[in-house]
Symmetry: C3
Subunit: 161 residues, 3 copies
């Protein structure tokens, strides 16, 4: 039988500031992190991802090429980012067709959320299990599939639906 | 460049009864298991989690601090539990703000379900892909986002929606 | 305290054609792959799974026993397949009760999708975060929970909802 081409998950060719904490196993390559970031176990973060300062990325999360995340964001567990909309009926093999995602500052994304290629502004909470299919700019709490605004930004509000 | 603070996923400081089977890699710490439990690969179970007897936790599942699970439960693949409702617009760093989840006996939770901090009674089935946002007490089958009762408990019913 | 029964994720007893690429850690056993397949990290693929040629299975995906996937499919990240409908109020321990899933050719399944035991025809796109609860035969783009047809098959259409 033919030999399997085996690769190992690893931390390869990343840039980072002070105080980066990582719980292995993870697969991180050609991405960058600011200061004081945390990455939990079983995460994959691909090339061409830029992450700011004081960002926590929890276990089981996947961040695809073309995502940037601002300072003071919290990405919970099992969050999946997407850059390919399968516009031609299947995956695009040309990276030039991949779409970018830009996440502002002080954004929290709940566990098991799915993030299509969008722009998310500052001071936004995405509820757990949501599917974000469009840009979100107004500060507040969003949830559902597709994610909709539940509460404009007010202290004491919640992601409960 | 500064050194990365690397930690390794491991099994650390857990309590367990007879016949615990684990498929590594997993990250389990300061949690407890009864007799005859199974934990699949790529799971994380945090501190202050109490799990009963004859519970199976399948691959890719994350169980956060503050969850208790009764006897004879089945937690499928990619299930995410949550203890922080982001009530102040982002993650709470004080564990005293985290909410607890209590799962009864003979509860089955389908794959890719998301469980907000709730109480789930005995003899309940949660369909795959559901988002549970409220307490569930009546025995039966629940599904959807948010999860709603599909069928009161009757033999032969299904989680299909 | 009793000894934990530890198993290690591994590649065991698989059949495969030419040019199989795998990023470890993965847990693959008693399944088969055609030529030119790719499997990303943190995947589990169980026994009695048959995968065709030129299939890519991305990170964090779980494929249960009883699934067959045709040629030229793309299974994105965090996709969970299901074979047990909990028809008797909990998991069936008899593999003879498990249901089969058949995926045709040139099917793309988006990240975080959940696939109940169904038949999916050729030339179908499943949007990210969808829950597929019924058979899908008409070529086109489906999304939502439960997944519904968004667009019949036409060049240039998208999985956006």
């Amino acid at each position: 039988m033919n030999q399997i081409k085996l690769h190992q998950s690893a931390i390869r060719d990343i840039h980072h500031g002070r105080n980066l904490t990582v719980v292995e196993p993870v697969n991180l390559y050609e991405c960058s992190f600011g200061d004081d970031c945390f990455i939990g176990p079983f995460c994959e973060i691909q090339s061409d991802v830029t992450i700011g300062n004081r960002v926590r990325i929890q276990s089981h999360t996947f961040i695809c090429s073309g995502v940037s995340i601002g300072d003071d964001c919290f990405i919970a567990h099992g969050v999946m980012f997407i850059n390919d909309l399968f516009r031609e009926g299947g995956p695009s093999r040309a990276p030039s067709d991949w779409k970018r995602t830009v996440i502002g500052r002080h954004v929290s994304i709940g566990s098991n959320a799915t993030i299509l290629p969008v722009r998310i502004g500052d001071d936004i909470v995405i509820g757990a299990g949501s599917v974000v299919t469009h840009d979100l700019s107004e500060p507040g709490v969003y949830a559902g599939n597709p994610a909709r605004l539940l509460h404009p930004n007010q202290t004491g509000k919640t992601q409960e639906t």
